[in-house]
Assembly symmetry: C2
Homo-oligomer: 223 residues x 2
Amino acid sequence: MPMEPTAAIEVIAYNWVPPLARGQVRDLRARWALEEIGLPYRTRLFDVRNKPDALYALQPFGQVPAYCEGAVQLFECGAIALHIAEKDERLLPRDPIGRGRATSWLFAALNSIDPLVLSLIVARVHGEAKGWAAGARETIVPMLEARLQRLADALGGKDWLDTRFTVADLMMVATLRAINRDLVAMPEPIAAYVARGEARPAFQAALAAQFADFIPEEQELPA
Amino acid sequence: MPMEPTAAIEVIAYNWVPPLARGQVRDLRARWALEEIGLPYRTRLFDVRNKPDALYALQPFGQVPAYCEGAVQLFECGAIALHIAEKDERLLPRDPIGRGRATSWLFAALNSIDPLVLSLIVARVHGEAKGWAAGARETIVPMLEARLQRLADALGGKDWLDTRFTVADLMMVATLRAINRDLVAMPEPIAAYVARGEARPAFQAALAAQFADFIPEEQELPA
C-alpha cells in the first residue's frame, strides 16, 4: 500500500472510532483515490473522542478527512477526491464531456444520495430511543429507494456510471456502502455495483490501511 | 440580465413550483454563477408536477438544474457551479491554495450543511402531520446550530470565506437561505453573511430571472 512516512501528501484521519464506524470513516475515500493512482501518502491521526484545536484548524467542523499537500489544505471528502482525481485521468477523464459526467455523479453521490443515507443514520442512532425513527424511515426510505432505482437505470447494464471506473464511482460506491440494507430495498444491480467497487484492489488496500491506523482494541483508551 | 434565447449555455429549470419553493429552486445557483461573470444563457423549462422522460434524460433523478453547453451535459448544482466557476477566476481562484479553499467550502455547503437543512425540511413537510417532526428537530437543530457556529468562527470578521467572494460563498449562501430561522438559532455573523450574498447584483438578477420563468398564478395549470 502506498503509505510512506515521508510522503508529500498527508491525510488526516482518526486513530479511534467506535467499532461500528470502522471501515466507514470518510478518510477511506481519500485513501482509495490515492491507491487507485498509486500516490504515496502519510497520515496524521486524531481520536474522535478528544478533538483538539489542531483538528479544527484543519477541518472547520472537526471531522475527517482533511488533506495537506505542501501549502495546499483541503477538507471535505468530495473536494479531496476531486483534487486527487485532477492529477490522473484514470480517475477523471480529460475530455470535457467525460469530465462533466464524472463531476455530476460525484456531486450526485454527495448531495442527492448521501443526505438521505445520513438522515436514516441519524434517525437510527438518535431516533430509536426517542420514538421518531420509524416515522422518519416511513418517509425517507421510499425517497432513497426511488433514487436507487434511478441510479440502477442510469447504470443500465454497465459496470460503472461511465464506460469505465472514475472518481464518480469511487464516491458513489463509498456512499452506498453506508446504506443499511435491512432497512432499504437495494436493487440487485446496485448491490452488484457496490460489490464491484469493493472488490477493487485499491479499495481493499485503502480499507486495510484505515483499519491499520486504529488503535487495537486492547489498547483502547477509556471513553 | 444575461438571458439570451440563442445563448450557447442552456439551464434546465422549472416553469412552475409551489409558491413557497419560488426563489429556492436550485437553478438559482447556476443562474447566479452565470450572472456573476456575465455569461449569457437560455433556459429550458419543465413543470415540476408533470416530469417527462426528457427531464430524466437530462437529470437522472428528475430534478433541476441541469445544464447543457454544446456536447457537455451536467447535472447537480455543485457540478454546474464548479464548471461555471472554472471559466473565470472571479469565481474560482487560479492559485492552488485558494482553489483548494474554495472547493473545500463548496463541498462543505453541499455535504456538511445542506444534509442537515434538508433533514429539517423533510421533517417539516412530511413529519408534522405524522408526529415525528418535533423529535427529529430536537436532534438535528443542535447539530446544525453547532455547524453554523463553526462556520461563523471560520468567517471571523471577514465578509466572505476567503479574502473575497468565490463560488464557495455562492453555494454556502444559497444553502443557508433555505434554513427556517424560526427553528434554528442563526448566529448574527451568519445572518449578515447571507444578507451580503443576497445583496449582490448578480444574485438579485438571478432571483428575478427565476421568478420571470414561472407561469403567472392566473395561468397556472391545475395540479
